[in-house]
């Protein structure tokens, strides 16, 4: 099932927005502070210049400081923002020698300015003012006392300049963000290009095309592409296996059918009823074999098709094994062999399995052993209990199978290189399928001095508990 959980673009956009908003807010606070600081500095230097100009005009006459207020100083103070201006020249006692407004210069301000020039922001009659004070030593013939020059103006220009600088910074920042957003979107488009190309390639792929992908992908998509390739390869293999199985099955069915046809043709040409009788018997045998082959094919196909088994009840494998061996021992085919049971564990052993599946499995193993060993051979079935598993084994003292052929035996239509029997070669394939279904493991091994052991390991389970908790 494909569940769409938001778009990559939107997620990226949200992250970008969050980052930009967060960092941007901090950046803008800093910008606001620094631009207004810069504006203050720029205008403070005007105050300094005005104070200097006024200080130049201070002269001493008859022991009194005298200021002929220079018009230029006032113009410097007013700036082109036409600020309201304030000036005061104070004598050593803090008494105004000359001033244009009766603003009070606090004694502590004067003390501070006595040490070093100083600027401050304060409120006079409801308006914010910036004041700058500076002390000048001046010498006259009668007295030599310092004078303090205080100048000030309203702060309209400072705020306007600060705001203007800030607005400029802000607009640049916004433009940058916008540009970054556009570039990001474009980059995203380019980055998602390989994904789009891959999608297009997959969409235009032929249904039968199971070949590996032919695409240029970035590092981040290599895994995806490889996984897709693996998937295709697996599909290709299973498809090939299916085709081979179908071809093999058809071939296997064709041989007995051809035998039937030739036998019946021969009988038809003959006039002798005895030949007819013999042909009919041969046909009967052939039909038997063919029908058995067909049923094996059917069960193999069904096993492969059913896939994963559902939840099944625990089964006592000891009882099933005993019952099955007894059943087979009584059959006609087992007449010439020594079919027996090894010593079984005393108590029941529980596994998760269907009864029919275990019977089918045992049946196939016993049938195989009977078919591929000479008459009089000994076939023994048994169980070995381990800590968490149980091993079910079938051993014979027949000719055995060479080690290199054993794995192939599990493939359908594989007879271990033996052409001397009428087996279909499907038995072990069916057993393997069942073993996989039950979560077990099938293995073939050699018996000394000769013979074959087929072992099925199955996980044990607690008869009262569920499948997942084997004790």
């Amino acid at each position: 099932m494909i569940e769409v959980t938001g778009s990559l673009k939107r997620r990226l956009a949200v992250w970008l927005l969050l980052t930009v908003t967060g960092l941007g807010a901090l950046l803008m606070i800093e910008a606001w502070l620094s631009t207004h600081r810069a504006a203050e500095r720029a205008f403070d230097s005007q105050l300094e210049a005005a104070a200097l100009t006024i200080a130049e005009a201070v002269q001493w006459q008859a022991g009194e400081p005298l200021v002929e207020m220079p018009a230029a100083a006032l113009q410097i103070l007013a700036t082109h923002h036409q600020e309201r201006v304030f000036y005061a020249v104070l004598d050593a006692d803090g008494k105004p020698v000359s001033t244009n407004m009766s603003f009070t210069i606090e004694p502590e301000w004067r003390e501070r300015v006595a040490d070093a020039p100083w600027a401050l922001t304060t409120d006079f009659d409801g308006t914010s003012w910036r004041l700058y004070g500076r002390e000048y030593d001046s010498a006259g013939w009668v007295s030599q006392e310092p004078v303090q020059v205080w100048v000030g103006h309203t702060r309209v220009g400072r705020q306007a300049l600060g705001d203007e600088l800030f607005e400029r910074t802000l607009s640049r920042f916004l433009a940058m963000v916008l540009l970054a957003g556009i570039l990001m979107a474009m980059a995203l488009r380019v980055a998602l290009g390989p994904m789009r190309r891959l999608r297009r390639q997959l969409r235009h792929r032929d249904a039968d095309d199971m070949g590996p992908l032919d695409a240029r992908v970035p590092e981040e998509m290599r895994e995806l592409a490889q996984t897709l390739d693996h998937l295709f390869a697996r599909q290709r293999h299973s498809r090939e296996a299916l085709l081979r199985f179908t071809a093999d099955a058809s071939h296997q069915l064709k041989t007995p059918l051809a035998g039937l046809k030739s036998t019946s043709e021969l009988a038809l040409k003959s006039q002798d009823p005895a030949d007819w009788q013999a042909a009919l018997l041969a046909v009967h045998d052939g039909a038997d074999r063919t029908s058995r082959l067909a049923s094996q094919l059917l069960s193999l196909a069904r096993l492969r098709h059913i896939g994963e088994a559902g939840r099944v009840a625990p089964l006592d494998i000891v009882a099933v094994l005993r019952e099955c061996v007894l059943d087979w021992a009584g059959r006609e085919v087992a007449r010439d062999h020594d079919l027996g049971l090894a010593e079984l564990p005393s108590g029941p052993l529980w596994v998760h399995a269907d009864g029919w599946a275990i019977r089918e499995l045992l049946g196939n193993l016993i049938d195989n052993a009977l078919r591929y060993t000479k008459a009089g051979s000994e076939i023994t079935l048994g169980l070995c209990q381990h800590r968490e598993t149980v091993s079910l084994y079938v051993e014979d003292d027949g000719p055995g199978v060479p080690a290199e052929a054993r794995e192939r035996l599990l493939q359908p239509f594989e007879r271990g290189g033996r052409q001397d029997t009428e087996g279909s070669g499907l038995g072990l394939a069916i057993v393997d399928s069942i073993a996989r279904r039950l979560g077990g493991r099938l293995s073939l091994s050699e018996r000394s001095p000769h013979g074959l052991i087929v072992t099925l390991d199955l996980p044990l389970c607690d008869p009262d508990a569920t499948r997942e908790t084997p004790s």
């Binding site: 005298l66 018009a71 309201r84 201006v85 000359s98 244009n100």
Partner: protein
């Protein structure tokens, strides 16, 4: 039918009367304290009254120094303050006594004729010399400041007691003009010394000087308001107005709305009218105050004055430097120097 109509007419009349009466009762008063002759400005005030019948205009014509004192002392405060004493007006605005006028006319007003959008120079009055015809019988009438200085130096005896000018002490306008003169050239002090030598009479108003000229008491007047002198000369042919050919100062009347104006809306309406097309047209056409606006046509406009006397018009700049003129120490120093030069004996 007729009866009904008559009754209806009566009702209408009564309603109208009631409306008029209530309108009269509700009329917003507007108090203007101005250093501006009522006779000169009357056409403007009439135009305003007819444009704004809902405002009851009260116009007080006072001296510049009285007007200045009223700004801080009057209770209730005046709505609009008009004065030709530019430095004092500027100082009051700097002290925060004005309120900002935000109107299209105020915004488009030339930047050189306003400050902070609070105070507006709304006239453009050249400062002139005036002489009596008698003068030209005895000597070449002066055309420049230098001519005047020469006359005062060479014709000391003939001009004794016949020269008049503003008193810097008694008149704010006079003081401002002399300050501005002194800024342009130090030779101005020679002129003052020359005035002292001929025993110039110091008057407190242009009107007094003009009357003296017409009476024959004076032959020559220096630094008269051109606006008054030109009107006077039209009715008194014996008085000739001379715009100085080297440079001519230009004074502007400055108007602002008082911070504590009891009727700010009416005050804003008045100043807006003053600066607007209509007010300036009246100013240019019916008063000799000269309109500042370049888009106004009439006999009295700054543009036309420039055409007549050339580019030698030097308006007293309407900026913070005016504040220096009212600095007490600077003023004292200036007046002391004035006295010293006026009594200079050499």
């Amino acid at each position: 039918m007729t009866l009904y109509r008559r009754r209806f007419t009566w009702m209408l009349l009564v309603t109208l009367c009631a409306l008029v009466l209530s309108a009269r009762a509700q009329a917003t008063p507007l108090v203007i304290e101005a250093a501006l002759d009522y006779d000169v400005v009357a056409p403007l005030l009439e135009a305003f009254r007819s444009a704004h019948p809902e405002i009851d205009l009260e116009f007080h014509d006072r001296s510049t120094l009285t007007v200045d004192a009223l700004v801080s002392e009057a209770d209730p405060a005046p709505d609009v303050v008009i004065s030709s004493a530019m430095p004092w007006q500027m100082a009051r605005v700097n002290e925060g006594y004005a309120q900002r006028l935000d109107s299209p006319a105020a915004r488009s007003w030339p930047a050189w004729a306003k400050w902070r959008n609070e105070v507006f120079g709304f006239t453009f009055e050249p400062i002139v010399m005036a002489y009596r015809l008698d003068l030209s019988k005895h000597m070449m009438p002066p055309q420049t400041h230098a001519d005047l200085h020469t006359l005062l130096t060479t014709e000391t005896a003939q001009l004794q007691g016949k020269v008049t000018t503003y008193s810097p002490l008694k008149s704010g306008v006079g003081f401002s003009l002399f300050q501005q003169d002194a800024r342009y050239t130090p030779r101005f002090w020679d002129l003052v010394a020359g005035m002292g030598r001929v025993g110039a009479s110091l008057e407190s108003s242009t009107r007094a000087m003009l009357e003296g000229l017409s009476d024959g008491r004076y032959w020559l007047g220096y630094n008269l308001l051109g606006s008054y002198a030109m009107v006077w000369a039209q009715e008194h042919p014996e008085v000739i107005v001379q715009v100085p050919q080297d440079y001519s100062l230009v004074m502007m009347r400055m108007a602002f709305i008082h911070r504590d104006a009891p009727h700010p809306a009416a005050a804003a309406a008045f100043v807006d009218f003053l600066l607007g097309r209509e007010g300036q047209r009246v100013l240019a056409g019916q008063t000799p105050l000269f309109s500042v606006r370049p888009d106004i046509v009439g006999p009295y406009t700054a543009a036309r004055l420039r055409d007549q006397v050339g580019d030698r018009l030097y308006p007293i700049p309407l900026n913070a430097s005016l504040l220096a003129f009212v600095d007490p120490q600077r003023r004292d120093a200036f007046l002391a120097r004035w006295r010293r030069e006026f009594r200079r004996d050499d």
